[in-house]
């Protein structure tokens, strides 16, 4: 609805920003704007499925390289680059327990 989607986060690689079990509001339509580093994106990854990661860098070929938020995450190299067509949307809201 309105290009928005609610998703539940599983896994711990985005802690403490997005702890496991929290909900994220994702906007697809925001992708009309350029993707920039530090944005949090939901990516339809060819190997890892639907994942949420932080943009590390957008290279000169407009490919997006992403990372987790702690050292338990897959590395940037392991995740590899994705193109904009593989982006499900940008995270615009996070709903988590207050004490986590």
């Amino acid at each position: 609805m309105f290009g928005l989607k609610l998703l539940k986060v599983t896994g711990e690689s985005m802690q403490p920003v997005l702890p496991a079990g929290c909900f994220i509001l994702v906007a697809k339509w925001l992708l009309i704007f350029p993707v920039k580093s530090k944005q949090r994106l939901v990516i339809n990854h060819p190997k890892y499925g639907v994942i949420v990661k932080t943009v590390a860098i957008v290279d000169k070929n407009d490919l997006i390289w992403s990372r987790g938020e702690n050292n338990g995450s897959l590395s940037i190299d392991q995740l590899g680059p994705v193109n904009k067509a593989q982006i499900v949307g940008r995270v615009i809201g996070v709903f988590k327990l207050k004490n986590i």
């Binding site: 989607k5 609610l6 998703l7 539940k8 986060v9 599983t10 896994g11 711990e12 690689s13 985005m14 802690q15 997005l18 496991a20 929290c22 909900f23 994220i24 994702v26 939901v42 890892y48 499925g49 639907v50 994942i51 949420v52 990661k53 987790g68 050292n71 338990g72 995450s73 897959l74 590395s75 392991q78 499900v88 709903f95 988590k96 327990l97 207050k98």
Partner: protein, 166 residues
């Protein structure tokens, strides 16, 4: 409050998931993979030595020789990778404070693994195993788990450090 409402909705009508993948399941670390990789290297060296003891090799045996060398190389890399993961992801300040030789031991494992990869030398691979066993012992000590040494019940029948998990 929104979280609680969403959680209740999720319990009844589950939302789609977005995975925040870890490179391995978080907090699951075990040096046994590195130890097994060294054992494989030792075994490969033994098998290579059996082959090279022959006067000449058939085409089939030459192919086997190549496969053995490749496996030795691959498992040398695996040793380095598995130790690096534990060292980089699990080892933190408390473990370093209690085991101050960890950095140098890890570095020595990297050097010994490279050397064992470079040569077909059983002594080098056994020396690598000794260092990886030391690393495993420290790892289990940081977890408060006792260890014991036993000879692995399969070739190359070398001594391994195992955790006491009873």
């Amino acid at each position: 409050m929104i979280f609680e409402i969403l959680n209740k909705i999720d319990a009844k009508y589950p939302f789609e998931h977005a995975g925040a993948h870890c490179d391995i399941p978080c907090k699951i670390y075990d040096p046994i993979t590195a130890q097994l990789a060294v054992l494989t290297m030792i075994r490969m060296v033994d098998l290579i030595n059996e082959l090279t003891a022959k006067e000449s090799l058939t085409t089939e045996e030459q192919a086997t020789f190549l496969r053995l060398v490749n496996e030795k190389e691959a498992h040398g890399n695996k040793v380095k990778q598995e130790i690096q993961i534990i060292w980089g992801d699990y080892i933190k300040q408390p473990q370093l404070a209690s085991h101050q030789n960890l950095h140098s031991l890890t570095h020595n494992i990297m050097l010994a693994a490279s050397y064992a990869k470079q040569y077909i030398n059983r002594e080098a691979t056994v020396e690598l195993l000794d260092k990886v066993n030391q690393f495993a012992q420290i790892f289990w000590e940081t977890k408060g788990v006792d260890v014991y040494r036993a000879t692995c019940p399969y070739p190359p029948a070398e001594s391994l450090v195992y955790p006491v998990l009873k």
